[in-house]
């Protein structure tokens, strides 16, 4: 009996893992196509925030690694931008949770505003280091990126919560 329930547990766990894999695969495909439709924007970071909000650090690390190898490859700068971007995603989250509840909408807005500015500053600094002419803080791009971040988060967070039923981190 116990063997049966253990096997059932393993099966449920495997199904859960498979569902999670399919969910993130779908997210990946949507993000790649999103980046094609809105050139020069980042669609992947909201997924990382959702994983951090649900305290799924291992999954966040794995998704971060996949994102790293995709985004660095499609970009025009030398290797290094996406590592700093992902470090920023993590550090901004830690900093934000000291002050606010991570699932709070105000937190999400401030977080993505900070991330948008950080990303633009990062591109400007690294672009200049590599002697590439980069536009300095285009307001249009900042607004577009912020809207993309917020829309993707608003799309992913409720679906992930409904499908995987975890309680997000409350600090």
């Amino acid at each position: 009996m116990s063997t049966h329930s253990g096997s059932g547990f393993r099966t449920r766990s495997q199904i859960q893992s498979m569902n999670s894999f399919c969910f993130w695969l779908g997210y990946f495909l949507i993000s790649v196509w999103g980046q094609e439709f809105v050139p020069g924007t980042d669609f992947f970071s909201p997924g990382l925030l959702v994983l951090l909000q649900f305290n799924r650090l291992k999954s966040a690390l794995f998704l971060g690694l996949v994102i790293l190898f995709v985004q660095e490859g499609t970009g025009s700068l030398n290797f290094g931008l996406v590592i700093l971007l992902e470090l920023g995603i993590f550090l901004l989250f830690i900093l934000g949770t000291w002050l606010l509840t991570p699932t709070n909408l105000f937190f999400v807005f401030v977080y993505f505003l900070g991330l948008t500015i950080y990303r633009s500053a990062l591109i400007w600094v690294l672009g200049n280091l590599q002697e590439i002419v980069v536009e300095f803080f285009s307001i249009k791009m900042l607004v577009v990126q912020l809207v993309v971040y917020l829309s993707m988060w608003a799309l992913v967070f409720p679906v992930y919560k409904k499908l995987f039923g975890h309680e997000p981190v409350q600090q």
Partner: protein, 275 residues
Amino acid sequence: MLLIFVIYLSLYTWNWKTHFLDRLTAYTGLELTGWILAPGKWLHSRLTAFWEHYFYLVGVREENEALRKKLDRLRLLLAFSREREKEAKRLEKLLGFKPPPEWDRKGARIIGHKLGPGAVLETVLIDLGEHESVQLDWPVITPQGVVGRIFKLGLNFSSVLLITDPNSRVPVISSESRVPAIAIGQGPAKPLSIAYVPQNAPLKQGDVFVTSGLAGIFPKGLPVARVISVLRSDVSLFQVVEAEPMVQARAQEEVLLLCPRTQVQASEPVHKSNP
């Protein structure tokens, strides 16, 4: 935190010297996005072709008439051009000129535009890569003119730097007055800046700039841009010239890659060109 910073700097410096991670991520990033985007783009082109072949027939008769007239004009022009070409070849032979290098063409489909947060340059993704022997800096054109050059190589996909990017410089020459200059991109949907045109150069609106072939990347004579404004400044040694690119890269679906017929294989494999 300091340790992470040191590790990052070491990785960055090591990659700067070896470009190992650039190559690795070019393979993974371009391949993954390429294989995701390619089927969708293929489907879109098939559906568009189906629509145009079977449903969108309004005005075809008028269009045929106009095309026939254009074809007659072009045939006449071609006949004259052939004679001029033979004459030019005879004169070159007579004067002992070295013949210009010949170029082959490869067709490619555009499947992506400026993808991701690191895509700070104006680029497009095409479906030809190292497997088809594509090399860095190969010119990318359409029958209307120059689009750009190969900037980053993947196995089956490559990134093309457009001439409209502010980091792009193309040596050009005016087709009428033979004024040499440099065509510099100013960003998407903006005209090219034609730099270093002397104040006394007889340049006017509508003149066409073609590649001069001086940098050794583009063959001589490919149309690049048409002049839209010429300003003579009192404080500068040069005229302020702006020109509209002959090709709007964002509106293209297919392009041609030009490969030198006597392509010398690069001794050191480099996977990303300098902008």
